[in-house]
Amino acid sequence: MKRLFFPLILFLLTILEGAALELLPSNLVMGNLMIVPHWVFAFLVYMAIFYDKDYTYYSIGYALLFGLLIDVVYTGVLGVYMFSYGLAIYIVHGLKKILQGNFYVVVLLGTVGVLLADLFIYLIYTSVGIVDMVFQDYTLGRMLPTILSNIVFILLLYPFCAKRLARWQWEQLSGKSTL
């Protein structure tokens, strides 16, 4: 039953992303800095670190699924978020095998993950021709503010997610050797 929580939470975050720009003050939105909420991705990072075991890949599956959902609902160009989120979460999942799951690792992997995901999105959009932006403008104008704002979100999630996800992992995944 608790497995249903993941799709529900991720779905809710997807929808909140659509209202995110309304919640932020308008002078932030109107300025030259682009802040992109990757809230779904932030939760997926927690899933990859605390929920998934080394041999389970739930977080990557959800990354592909909800990446595609964001593509369909918000951009209309299919596959971009799906691929970027999937690959970035896969790398986070791989790095997590080396590191312990604690607070600092969450911040570190969250930063790396958001950086990679947003970079992949930029690379795909530029190669397709949707975006025409110099790399330096991109790093200062979009990448930095996006990483900073999403790190804030990741920090806000920590007290709600870390312990709970670890407990769910223990309840749902222990004792089973297969997917």
């Binding site: 997807t14 909140l16 659509g18 209202a19 309304e22 992109v36 909420p37 369909v72 209309g76 691929f83």
Partner: protein, 291 residues
């Protein structure tokens, strides 16, 4: 171990092929969304409607508090302006009546200016800032079709990009490129200036209005750019923006006017989808009469 490395590479390659296929599929000129996309859009749109209500409630409270601060000054300023408007209203009423009478004499019932408004509410805005897109809560069931113009009370904000049964996506003016143009005009006494709105310049925050037919060279700052009926899709006379500056294009052949959008594109709540009342057959008649 060697086998696993290969498997990873294999999956990555397959993923890459799927990505290219999906992008290729979605970027080709397609008229309609697939049934799956429509279904997903409708489902998400319904939930967005539900979530949107408390969100607007909270943001409304915040803006209300901000508004209270300068209510008094605004009130005084508006009172002064109101007296000026009163005389203008009488004048407009007079002209409207006269226009109607003249139209009746000529037997014209529908003109290129007429449109049926479809009221809609914005339920979400794309978090991806490179794709300037909002979702509204009216779809094909309410008569919304692709390429219809979307306006607010102040002026044009965008056009319908894709429709589902109960929601549709609006491409905002700020996200325009050379693939979605709008024919526009600047009104003049003798011959109007015609051109196309071709894109949006992020740096100067203005629309690019390429002037195709210039009747006179002295385009002034602050002149109003309105939509033109010549595109065949939109009614005439919807405000787009005001001219900020006129520059020549990169080849020096045509001139481009930088146009500041009339509507506030960043704070959208209620919009109107413009359904042109005039049908195609009647269009040719009025064009002949104009000539």
């Amino acid at each position: 171990m060697h086998f696993f490395r290969n498997k990873r590479l294999f999956i990555l390659l397959i993923g890459f092929i799927v990505l290219v296929a999906l992008i290729g599929f979605s970027l080709k000129d397609r008229e309609n969304l697939t049934a799956v996309e429509k279904f997903v859009n409708d489902t998400v749109g319904w939930t967005q409607n539900v979530i949107h209500t408390p969100v607007t409630f909270i943001t409304d409270i915040v803006t209300n508090v901000k508004d209270f601060k300068n209510t008094y000054e605004e009130n005084q300023l508006l009172n002064e302006q109101l007296s000026q408007y009163k005389s203008l209203i009488y004048e407009v009423q007079d002209i409207k009546e006269e226009n109607e009478e003249l139209n009746d004499l000529l037997g014209i019932t529908e003109t290129v200016r007429d449109y049926d408004p479809i009221q809609a509410t914005v339920v979400s805005r794309s978090p991806e800032r490179w794709v300037e897109q909002v979702t509204i809560n009216k779809g094909e069931q309410d008569g919304v079709r692709s390429n219809m113009i979307v306006i607010t009370a102040e002026g044009m904000v965008g056009k319908i990009k894709s429709t589902s049964e109960f929601t549709s996506n609006v491409q905002l003016l700020t996200g325009f490129d050379q693939y979605n143009r709008i024919s526009a005009t600047i009104s003049r006494e003798e011959r109007d200036i015609f051109g196309m709105i071709e894109g949006f310049d992020q740096e100067s925050n203005s629309l690019l209005f390429r002037i195709i037919e210039e009747s006179d060279k002295d385009l002034e700052e602050g002149e109003l750019v309105v939509s033109s009926e010549l595109g065949g899709e939109f009614p005439k006379g919807l405000a787009i923006g005001t001219v900020k500056e006129v520059v020549s294009d990169q080849y020096g052949l045509t001139r481009i006017a930088m146009v500041e959008p009339a509507a506030d594109i960043y704070d959208l709540r209620n919009v109107i989808v413009v359904d042109r009342a005039l049908t195609e057959t009647e269009e040719s008649n009025t064009e002949e009469e104009e000539e």
